[in-house]
């Protein structure tokens, strides 16, 4: 491997690490298309992407654990419900394949879902942006969450008090059956679309179950450790994991994940949601462009799609770092004013 390629992988890993640590998603979504465009076979692109996601999620989960942002009980329940949902999602895909409709339905669902969640998250964040008082108190991860911070849908779901009731981080009380239902639904979409599902699970944990955003990110990452580990193991059995790709990517992302995870405790929660929404919108446009290219057999659309994905990732990770620096400087400015 040339030094330039090594530097490229480390730099690319750094970029993805920031997003992964900050949002709890964005790994295979970015790595796999990039490796495909670089000419790696699909098996290696997907398998190495999953192994990379596994390694990065281990690091990011440990970091979020240090900040008290992982709810293990919720994570285990989510894994159980998601696994069942993925199986059902896969069966639906197989059935649609028999009917010859799988490709088009999956593509349209993917774009609509990615774009829909993107618009919803951005709209909600902008609507409630002024109410956020900035930052998240990680020293009080188990403190009661303010009722006004719980989204309306989550409040409705929490109101169905079907026993047994579970108490989650932030003092959130939800029925076990509601958690399993949400986990099953996100798993079904994940299995149907053939994606890791971080972009579905993270907002679902916040908007449907009502856990605080940093806990949603940390718990989502905890689940990705298991899904990424199992997926990469299965691909590795078929020779789909290339360590010369995974190891340098991981060296960069480990640093990026530290920066991204630390940024969640500095940057305003409303800003996290805006960035997340914009990144999903960028992804939706990129997938739509790629699908149009496939339908009309326009090869250059694949490259345009990759540039759109990488561009939005670069823009959003840059914005995360910039917002963190700005928040630190304004914090320093206000504390020196108080001292005066």
């Amino acid at each position: 491997m040339s030094l330039a390629l090594l530097a490229l992988f480390v730099g690319f890993g750094l970029l993805i690490g920031v997003l992964f640590g900050f949002f709890g998603m964005g790994g295979s979504f970015l790595v796999t298309p990039a490796l495909l465009v670089m000419g790696y076979p699909s098996r290696v692109a997907v398998g190495s992407g999953l192994a990379f996601v596994f390694g990065t999620s281990v690091i990011a989960t440990l970091k979020h654990r240090d900040l008290g942002q992982v709810d293990y009980k919720l994570g285990v329940l989510m894994i159980a419900g998601t696994t069942a949902g993925i199986e059902v999602g896969k069966e639906i895909v197989l059935h649609l394949e028999e009917l010859g409709m799988a490709g088009s339905i999956i593509s349209v669902t993917y774009v609509v879902l990615l774009g829909g969640i993107g618009v919803f998250v951005t709209y909600e964040a902008l609507k409630g942006g002024d109410d956020d008082d900035g930052g998240v108190d990680h020293d009080a991860a188990d403190a009661e969450i303010d009722g006004d911070d719980i989204p309306d849908i989550a409040r409705t779901i929490q109101s169905y008090r079907v026993p047994p009731m579970m108490t989650l981080r932030g003092g959130v009380q939800v029925s076990l059956w509601m958690i399993l239902g949400v986990a099953f639904a996100t798993g079904l979409l994940s299995g149907f679309l053939g994606v890791g599902g971080g972009f579905i699970r993270m907002p679902a944990l916040f908007y449907l179950i009502g856990v605080p955003v940093p806990v949603a990110v940390g718990t989502d990452l905890f689940e990705i450790v298991f899904s990424g580990g199992l997926g990469s193991f299965l691909y590795a059995m078929d020779g789909g994991v290339d360590l010369s790709i995974v190891l340098p990517l991981l060296a960069g992302s480990a640093l990026g994940a530290r920066v991204g995870s630390a940024a969640t405790s500095i940057v305003d929660e409303g800003e996290i949601k805006v960035y997340f929404g914009l990144m999903l919108l960028g992804g939706a446009v990129a997938v739509a462009v790629r699908e149009i290219g496939n339908v009309y057999d326009i090869g250059v659309f694949d490259t345009v799609s990759l540039v759109l994905i990488l561009g939005s990732a670069l823009l959003v990770s840059g914005a995360v770092v910039y917002s963190s620096i700005t928040a630190l400087r304004s914090e320093a400015g206000s504390s020196s004013t108080i001292a005066d």
Partner: protein
């Protein structure tokens, strides 16, 4: 010395994932130590520039 190629596919796959896990743990500890050593100074520097 065990030849990795002679191992069954599941053992080879587990070894590969083990290498990734080991690198992740080493990087977590290594970058963690670096953060402890220079993290506060770096944040102070960002605040004061």
């Amino acid at each position: 010395m065990i030849d990795p190629a002679s191992l069954p596919p599941a053992a080879q796959a587990a070894a590969l994932i083990g290498v990734v896990l080991l690198e992740a743990m080493v990087l977590y500890v290594g970058y963690g130590a670096a953060e402890q050593a220079i993290g506060d100074k770096l944040i102070e520097r960002i605040k004061n520039t």
